[in-house]
C-alpha cells in the first residue's frame, strides 16, 4: 500500500510542484490544504503518513499548524518546506526538532531532493 501524503502550501503552483515531485507508485497525495487551519482539519480526517508543510501562510502559519497536529498526534511525520535563507536553516531545524518536526527543506528544491527527503522520513 502506498504511503499517504498531505501537501500544505498557500501557493497553488507550489502544491502542484510538490505533487509532481512526489509522483511515485509508493506515494499517494491524498489531500491538499492552503492554510494551517485547513491542514489541521484535513490531517484529522485523513491521518496521512506524512505532511509537507509550508511555513509562511496566511491565517494560520505552518509552524502553528504543525504544533497543533503534533500535540494531537505526536507520531505524525511533518516535513517543513520554506523559502527562508540558508543561514536560517540551522535555527529553523533546531526549533523544528524541539517540536518533533522530522525535516526542514529549503525552497527552491529539485524534485529529486524533495522526494529523497520525504522517502527518508517515511522510512524512519
Amino acid at each position: 500500500m502506498p504511503s499517504t501524503v498531505l501537501v500544505v502550501d498557500d501557493s497553488t503552483f507550489m502544491r502542484n510542484r510538490i505533487k509532481e515531485a512526489l509522483k511515485d507508485d509508493d506515494i499517494e497525495v491524498v489531500g491538499e490544504a492552503k492554510d494551517g487551519d485547513e491542514a489541521v482539519e484535513l490531517f484529522r480526517q485523513l491521518k496521512p503518513d506524512l505532511v509537507t508543510m509550508d511555513v509562511t501562510m496566511r491565517n494560520t502559519d505552518g509552524f502553528t499548524a504543525a504544533e497543533t497536529i503534533l500535540s494531537e498526534y505526536p507520531d505524525a511525520r511533518v516535513v517543513l518546506l520554506t523559502l527562508r535563507q540558508e543561514e536560517e536553516k540551522h535555527f529553523l531545524e533546531e526549533a523544528a526538532e524541539k517540536m518533533g518536526i522530522r525535516a526542514v527543506i529549503l525552497k527552491p528544491f529539485t524534485p529529486e531532493e524533495l522526494k529523497a527527503a520525504v522517502v527518508k522520513v517515511l522510512n524512519e
Binding site: 498557500d10 501557493s11 523559502l83 535563507q85 540558508e86
Partner: protein
C-alpha cells in the same frame, strides 16, 4: 559588500575589497532581509510622493464605489416608486365615492321595475360597501409590507454584496500596487467570496514566485562573486578582463532583478516567536 557594483557596471574592481567570506556573510545578513522586506524599505523614501498620489487615487476610488451604490439605490427607488404608485392608485380608486355610486346605479338598473326598487332604495349602502373599506385598509397594509421588504432587500444587498465588493476592490487595488501582504477578506462562500479567495490565491502564488526569484538572485550574485574572484587572479590578463566584463553585465542584471523583487511588499510571519 552590498554595493560592490555601486557606481554602475564599470567599477567592479572597487576600492572596498574584502575577503570573499566577509562579503558573503554581509550579504547574507542584509540582503535576504532586504528582499523580504521589499517595499517597506522603499516605502519610506517614496512616502510623500505616494501619499499625494494615494489621495488622488482615493478620490477617484470613492467615486467608483459610490457609483455602484448610487446605481443600486436608483434601481430600488424605482421599484419602490412603482409599488407605491400602483398601490396608492388602487387605494384611492377603491375609496372614491364614484365607485360606490356606479355600483349602486348598476344594482338599481338591474333591479326589476318597481319590484325591488322600493326595497333597494331603503338599503343601508354604508354597510353594503363596508368590504370595500376593509379592502382599502388591507391594501395599505400590503403597501407597508412591500415597502418594508424592498428596504430590507436594499439593506441586505448593500451589506452582503456592495459592501464586501467595495472592500475587495480596495484590497485588490492595494495588492496591484505591490503590497502582497494584503489579503482580501472572505466572509461567504458565494461568488463574491470565491472571487476574493481567487485573488488571495493569485497573490500567494505571485509572492512565492517573487521570493523565489529574489532568493535565486542572491545565490546567483554570490556565484558571480566567486567566479569574479577566481578569474581575477588568472595569468592571462586579456581573458580575465573579458570574463570580468561579462560578469559585470550579469551582475547588473541580477541587481536589477533583486531590486524588482524588492519593490514589492510581502506577507511574512514572525519567526522570533519560536
Amino acid at each position: 559588500m552590498n554595493e560592490i557594483n555601486g557606481e554602475g557596471g564599470s567599477s567592479w574592481d572597487g576600492v572596498d575589497r574584502r575577503t570573499e567570506q566577509e562579503r558573503k556573510g554581509e550579504r547574507r545578513d542584509h540582503n535576504w532581509r532586504d528582499v523580504q522586506k521589499g517595499g517597506e524599505r522603499r516605502a519610506g523614501t517614496e512616502r510623500r510622493k505616494g501619499e499625494r498620489r494615494k489621495a488622488a487615487k482615493e478620490r477617484r476610488q470613492s467615486a467608483v464605489f459610490s457609483d455602484l451604490k448610487k446605481k443600486l439605490l436608483i434601481y430600488f427607488l424605482l421599484v419602490v416608486f412603482v409599488c407605491i404608485a400602483i398601490t396608492v392608485e388602487l387605494i384611492i380608486e377603491v375609496g372614491e365615492p364614484k365607485l360606490t355610486d356606479q355600483m349602486t346605479e348598476l344594482i338599481l338598473v338591474q333591479a326589476e321595475e318597481h319590484a325591488v326598487l322600493d326595497a333597494a332604495e331603503g338599503f343601508d349602502y354604508e354597510s353594503i360597501y363596508e368590504p370595500l373599506d376593509h379592502l382599502q385598509i388591507r391594501m395599505m397594509i400590503v403597501l407597508g409590507i412591500v415597502m418594508a421588504a424592498v428596504f430590507f432587500t436594499l439593506f441586505f444587498f448593500i451589506k452582503d454584496v456592495a459592501g464586501p465588493l467595495d472592500e475587495m476592490v480596495q484590497t485588490a487595488k492595494e495588492i496591484s500596487r505591490g503590497n502582497l501582504a494584503k489579503t482580501v477578506p472572505v466572509y461567504t462562500k458565494d461568488e463574491i467570496g470565491q472571487l476574493g479567495g481567487i485573488i488571495n490565491d493569485i497573490t500567494a502564488d505571485f509572492q512565492e514566485v517573487l521570493l523565489m526569484v529574489g532568493k535565486i538572485s542572491l545565490s546567483a550574485a554570490d556565484a558571480t562573486d566567486v567566479i569574479h574572484n577566481r578569474v581575477e587572479v588568472l595569468k592571462e590578463k586579456q581573458i580575465s578582463d573579458e570574463i570580468q566584463e561579462q560578469l559585470n553585465v550579469l551582475y547588473k542584471d541580477i541587481r536589477e532583478l533583486k531590486s524588482l523583487v524588492e519593490s514589492f511588499r510581502f506577507y511574512q510571519i514572525d519567526l522570533d516567536k519560536l
